[in-house]
């Protein structure tokens, strides 16, 4: 047995793991960015009033 199946399985798992982390990082950055902008707007509106 040369281990080609295990090789494919291991790389699929590692690619999936890194891909999931990148996806989570990008979506969290976009989400927090949007929420921060909204809160900063609310704070600056309150301060101007």
């Amino acid at each position: 047995m040369s281990g080609v199946t295990e090789l494919g399985l291991a790389y699929a798992a590692m690619i999936g793991l890194i891909g999931a982390y990148v996806y989570r990082l990008v979506t969290r950055l976009a989400d927090v960015d949007a929420r921060l902008s909204a809160v900063e707007d609310a704070v600056s509106t309150e301060e101007s009033e």
Partner: protein, 237 residues
């Protein structure tokens, strides 16, 4: 987008491209190992990602350690963010190692895990520590007590790094030795070592990109929490 964020995105992109190229070269350019010396000669190609992932995870534990010391010494916000980033990256890279290693072990040794092997067990414990840190940070209210506990466990985790790194030198059971030092003994061809170094350089870029983006995220979350608290205070008074 700020300059730092752009740098984080650029490093992450370069790192991902380098890791992809390492994978492709590992399949089409790297030579096969001696089929007489290995039970599954093709499965060895796992090492082009497995080893850089392991080294990168040690770097993540260094970030965690520096952050823990900075937190204890100065109650530094930067130190706390380093703990957050270090524990997340240690978990990411550690899981990559802990998942790919047993798959290779099944092919090469016939068993996925050897409970008598010091390297495997200390590395498994290290990954469990990083998992605990990430889960604890997410489930506990943020405060000085929580941060102190997490920093203390981060320091304990780092103490396992040299034990794990040198386990194959001190006490080798199944896990192969340190490939750079023992390349003659392990019979690795120069092309394999070259590609392994290229893979490590790529994962180093990826690590730097992830660390920068993760730090930006934690800084933004901290500011968001501060502003929300400020709004709540103003609403009450």
């Amino acid at each position: 987008m700020t300059v730092v964020r752009r740098a984080g995105v650029a490093l992450t992109t370069l790192g991902l491209m380098g890791a992809g190229l390492t994978l492709i070269l590992g399949f089409i350019w790297a030579p096969t190992v001696d089929p007489e010396a290995w039970n599954s000669p093709e499965a060895y190609r796992i090492l082009y990602w497995h080893v850089p992932l392991a080294w990168s995870s040690f770097l993540a534990y260094c970030v965690l350690f520096i952050g823990s010391v900075a937190w204890y010494a100065k109650r530094s916000e930067l130190g706390w963010r380093m703990i957050c980033t270090g524990s997340e990256l240690a978990l990411l890279f550690g899981l990559g190692v802990v998942i790919s290693g047993p798959i290779w072990g099944s092919a090469e040794w016939g068993v996925p895990w050897d409970w008598g092997d010091l390297r495997l067990n200390t590395y498994g414990l290290l990954t469990a520590v990083s998992l605990f840190l990430v889960l604890a940070r997410g489930s506990q209210p943020d405060g000085q007590g929580t941060r102190d506990t997490i920093a203390a466990i981060g320091l304990f985790g780092f103490a396992l790094v040299p034990v794990t790194a040198l386990a194959t030198t001190w006490y080798q059971e199944r896990h192969p030795g340190i490939v750079i030092i023992e390349s003659e003994e392990s019979g690795l061809a120069p092309e394999i070592l070259t590609l392994l170094m290229f893979g490590f350089a790529s994962f180093l870029l990826l690590f730097a990109g992830f660390a920068i983006l993760s730090d930006i995220l934690h800084r933004m979350e901290s500011r968001l929490s501060h502003l929300q608290h400020q709004l709540d205070e103003e609403a009450i008074h």
